[in-house]
Symmetry: C2
Subunit: 231 residues, 2 copies
């Protein structure tokens, strides 16, 4: 029996804000794309994560035909070998393709595709990470040093959330010269007084979880950039 | 019609870890106590918060009779006037007592009962806050300065979570002299390698939320105190 479907190649960029799937043919032409919501692996766990990834893949498959020869998912929140293996097993099983055709890595690794032998990858979205990579003897990029990428509870200093957090800390601790910054934050969140700030910062946790709260605080970034008093 | 039930007085200490209700008679004797789970107001919102508070109150009422002449709920996560009014309205309505007999404040204010005219309150549990109070012209303690109490995303530097967070950052960034600390943390969390630490730090967020994650990290405090390398 011949397999009539042509081989195609899948890549998924799974982030804390959104998920993007992309299918290419053997010539490297992009023949299908799909999108889904946030899919941080640490936040969702393997089952829910797989569901979101599959939603993005289904979107990409609507536009194309073919069997997946190789699949690569680069995902935020994938931080160790155990994560990589567990996630790859879920995806391979759900797509019904061999496990050794699926590769799951941290999303920073997706950005290595443009590197020759070594380089530094910087992601600064809601969260942030800076990671150095070097090509190993198998021709694969291995991480050699990481700063940041510790998530909202332990770090994320360089992302939008980190910027918003520092802005909130500055006005909550009434640092000198932050009067205009306070006014801009209150204006942005439609609040009247400083006393409402702390409750407003955490208002999303109960209802929507830490990721929504992190995005809510990250959204203060333009306010800080535009209106921080010079002192 | 006479009201036969004697007047009794209710106090509730509502914290991020547990909730304790206490009923006293006119002589100040404690005649009933009850306990319930975590009830941080910011984390739960008014409806769920009221349900937890009521569970503690029902526990205390099982042991006693009487009508509530006054009720005071000091709660973690109550951070502004809007919170105080909203929370008091929910409790008064649920207990069917007049709104002006219910007082809701931040939990730091409960600790002012031993102060004469002014003083400093320190809470260092899972989270942390240091707050100075001074008696105002109405004889009530008003907060005059606060440090900390910004919650797990913005602060909480002095609590168990803050200590655990610094321990995790130190080993994740491979600070000199933290080899024994790393070994102690891996041992405490039953992990094999440093690469599993970040995933383990956030493992509770998807399933149990930020408060459980915060407690999970706070539980590292004795590990750090006992085993941090001297350098």
């Amino acid at each position: 029996m011949m397999d009539a479907a042509p081989p195609v190649f899948l890549a998924v960029d799974s982030g804390g804000t959104k998920t993007q799937a992309c299918i290419a043919n053997v010539n490297g032409d992009i023949i299908g794309t799909g999108i889904a919501g946030p899919s941080n692996y640490a936040a969702l766990g393997p089952v829910e994560w797989t569901a979101v990834i599959m939603e993005a893949i289904r979107g990409a498959k609507r536009e194309t035909k073919g069997r997946f020869a190789r699949a690569w998912i680069g995902s935020a929140g994938v931080t160790c070998n155990t994560d990589e293996k567990e996630a790859a097993a879920h995806i391979a099983s759900t797509l019904c393709i061999p496990l050794d055709t699926v590769q799951v890595t941290n999303d920073t690794q997706l950005l290595c595709t443009h590197l020759a032998t070594k380089g530094i990858v910087v992601i600064a979205g809601t969260g942030s990470v800076v990671q150095a990579f070097q090509k190993d003897t198998h021709g694969l990029f291995a991480p050699i040093l990481r700063v940041g990428g510790l998530g909202p509870l332990l770090g994320d200093e360089g992302g939008g959330f980190g910027v918003g957090r520092e802005a909130l800390r500055a006005v909550l601790y009434e640092e000198p010269g932050t009067e205009r910054l306070l006014a801009a934050i209150l204006d942005s969140w439609h609040l009247v007084s400083k006393e409402e700030l702390l409750a407003a910062s955490y208002a999303h946790i109960g209802k929507f979880g830490i990721r929504a709260t992190q995005s809510h605080i990250a959204a203060l970034t333009p306010v800080r950039n535009a209106k921080h008093s010079v002192h």
